[in-house]
């Protein structure tokens, strides 16, 4: 997967009047990647994508595709094609005419055009639908037309603007893996914009998280989830329990964070390289917290590799959300914090399950918390 840099975004800024939509973004996208631009709505991800397509012009900075500066190059002359959020399938043209449109604009000969259109339609499994009009297609099929229409031009980069947002849940899931398969098959670099973190994690090889025009982190899905760069990323990707506190111990092999929200300090088995006393945040994912029954008068359980009096807190279950494959428990800690715990429902029936109002111990491994400095 690791190839040469295909897209280089250098200090790109886009301002609309007073509003800065994209703020000094530096980014490199490699050839053959499935790259996702991820962020909440209004974070500038779509503007960035549109600048790649040439539909917006950067206020500052430059964009290079294949080493070529794209400044002044109009959208119809760029080696990129886009799948629009609304699909933008031409309503007055048949499926085949839609797909052939780009080739016609390029002056591709009729025979070759027909062949490439057929190939593209086969790729997206729309063969046999050539003569249909867009209003005779479902939303998913329209999207396939948009996809075929863009891919048939064999672009260097395919841009996808929220490709799955208009589909219903089941179709969305199916389309996820299919998009990834298509990308595998054609080998084109995909750059996708999405606000849906599941989508980005499931499909992309690398993601860039943006917020308020600023790039927050660029990493693989795993790193994004397990090693978030800051509170925004930790919170935006997945759900998280965030504890604000201060570093009280910071050695090369261990660190301790004291938080007023928890009755015991948080112990981690690595150094943080901050001065003691620095404000930090410990982010612990709900599935990385273990929940144990707490009989009256019972002693707190010990967590391996953690000194006594760390990483174990008593609490009471105050809410249960059963989601089928897993259950989310809200546990109220006496010190005031409310902690989310996620358990997979591996068995159909649990002898000693958890119920509302039950007293429990929460414990976590010294490697579970991600310590964030900002």
């Amino acid at each position: 997967m690791v190839g040469k840099t295909l897209i280089r975004i250098e200090g790109v800024t886009k301002r609309f009047g007073q509003f800065t939509a994209v703020d000094d973004v530096n980014l490199e996208i490699e050839e053959g990647e499935f790259f996702a631009l991820l962020g909440p709505s209004g974070c500038g991800k779509t503007t960035l994508l549109r600048m790649l397509a040439g539909l917006e012009v950067p206020s500052d900075g430059r964009i290079l595709i294949d080493g070529e500066d794209m400044a002044g190059v109009p959208p119809n002359k760029r080696p990129v094609n886009m799948v629009f959020q609304s699909y933008a399938v031409f309503p007055h043209m048949s499926v085949a005419d839609n797909v052939a449109y780009g080739l016609r604009m390029d002056g591709v000969a009729k025979a070759e055009r027909a062949e490439r259109v057929a190939d593209a339609l086969a790729l997206v499994k729309l063969d046999g639908m050539e003569d249909r009009k867009p209003d005779q297609l479902s939303g998913g099929q329209r999207q396939r037309v948009a996809l075929a229409r863009a891919l048939v031009k064999r672009p260097r980069v395919l841009l996808l603007d929220e490709p799955l947002s208009a589909l219903d849940a089941k179709l969305r899931e199916a389309m996820r893996s299919e998009l990834a398969q298509i990308q595998d098959k054609v080998g084109v670099t995909f750059v996708m914009v999405t606000h849906d973190q599941d989508e980005a994690l499931a499909m992309a090889t690398r993601c860039a998280v943006m917020n308020r025009g600023l790039l927050q982190q660029v990493a693989s899905p795993t790193d994004l989830y397990e090693y978030p760069a800051n509170r925004f990323v930790a919170d935006f990707i997945g759900s998280v329990n965030m504890f604000e506190g201060r570093l009280t111990v910071d050695e090369p092999d261990r660190a301790v964070i004291t938080s007023s929200a928890l009755p015991v300090p948080i112990y981690v088995d690595h150094g943080v390289t901050g001065a003691t006393g620095t404000a930090v945040w410990a982010a612990i994912r709900p599935e990385k917290i273990e929940m144990l029954h707490r009989p009256d008068g019972g002693l707190p359980p010990r967590v391996a590799g953690v000194p006594e009096g760390h990483n174990v807190v008593p609490g009471r279950i105050c809410h249960i959300a059963y989601l089928g494959s897993e259950t989310v428990y809200d546990v109220q800690v006496d010190s005031g914090a409310r902690i989310k715990v996620l358990r997979s429902n591996v068995a159909r029936y649990e002898e000693r399950g958890f119920d509302w109002e039950q007293p429990v111990w929460l414990a976590w491994h010294p490697r579970s918390p991600a310590v964030l400095l900002s």
Binding site: M82, S86, A88, F90, Y101, P134, D135, R149
Partner: protein
């Protein structure tokens, strides 16, 4: 078998609405039907029915003055429609796409010909063409109609612009971006994407412009010269002497023509809308 009870929304089955509909139908259509019926009347007077005849139609077709006026009207309508549609569509696109200084003022001025009383427009045109920019007399047909055509375009194209502007509001700008993204130039994406979207509005606007132009009397009356008489003006001058069934016959032809054109236009438009998915 008992009749089904009248539902709360079954207004059509209650007498007040039926009476209303009857009144509307009488006052809208009875005059037209009378006009048409008496075009087949044998008597020279439009009062008593004496017998059926096609004579008045033959007479009307042999009336050189009437025929010339009729041709003039159709020519003026066709030309001013063509110009109005292009001009109106371009104005609509400009207002829809661009921001420019005094845009609100521009759009307001645009609607002026719609709201200004026709008589004022007529007098204004008269003054303009007699004092400011006299239209050269004695030009060969159809150039001699130039002044009337310009006058007609000036009050027809705003209607086209308004209709097209409304249609453009439903245009998905991503369609145009998609066309460009796929390699289309500005012009190609305009022709391939925007124009097809506007087509129903263009048809509707053309229809409106055509009928407006065809039956305009007031403005035409003030701009027409002795050698550029249009059908409505001609009918008016004929009626001043007496209403002969000849006028009825000519009017009937005109009515049938407009109804036919409208029907065709509506049918075309309906098909377009259905094709574009009503969007």
């Amino acid at each position: 078998m008992s009749r089904e009870a009248i539902g709360p929304l079954d207004y059509l089955r209650r007498w007040p609405l039926r009476l209303w509909i009857a009144l509307v139908a009488i006052f809208l259509y009875a005059p037209l039907i009378t006009l048409m019926a008496f075009s087949f009347n044998e008597s020279k007077r439009n009062i008593i029915w004496t017998g059926f005849t096609f004579d008045w139609y033959f007479k009307a077709f042999r009336n050189a003055g009437l025929l010339e006026a009729f041709t003039n009207s159709l020519t003026i309508a066709a030309l001013s429609t063509a110009i109005s549609v292009v001009l109106g569509a371009l104005v609509a696109v400009a207002c829809w796409r661009f921001r420019f200084p005094f845009k609100a003022g521009f759009e307001g001025t645009l609607a002026l010909p719609i709201v200004v009383p026709e008589i004022c427009m007529g007098v204004a045109m008269l003054v303009f063409f007699s004092r400011v920019m006299p239209w050269p007399a004695g030009l060969p047909w159809p150039l001699n109609l130039g002044a009337i055509i310009i006058a007609h375009v000036s009050f027809c194209f705003p209607f086209v612009a308004v209709i097209v502007r409304a249609r453009l509001a439903s245009f998905n700008r991503e369609l145009e971006e998609a066309a460009k993204d796929l390699g289309a130039s500005e012009w190609r994406s305009f022709m391939d994407v925007l124009v097809p979207h506007m087509r129903p509005a263009l048809v509707a606007g053309a229809l409106l412009a055509f009928t407006l132009s065809l039956d305009d009397f007031v403005i035409t009356f003030f701009t027409a010269g002795p050698d550029t008489v249009t059908f409505p003006v001609k009918v008016y001058s004929m009626v001043r002497f007496s209403v002969t069934p000849e006028v009825n016959a000519a009017s009937t032809v005109l009515i049938v023509l407009t109804v036919l054109l409208t029907a065709i236009g509506l049918k075309l438009q309906g098909r377009e809308v259905a094709k574009s998915g009503g969007a």
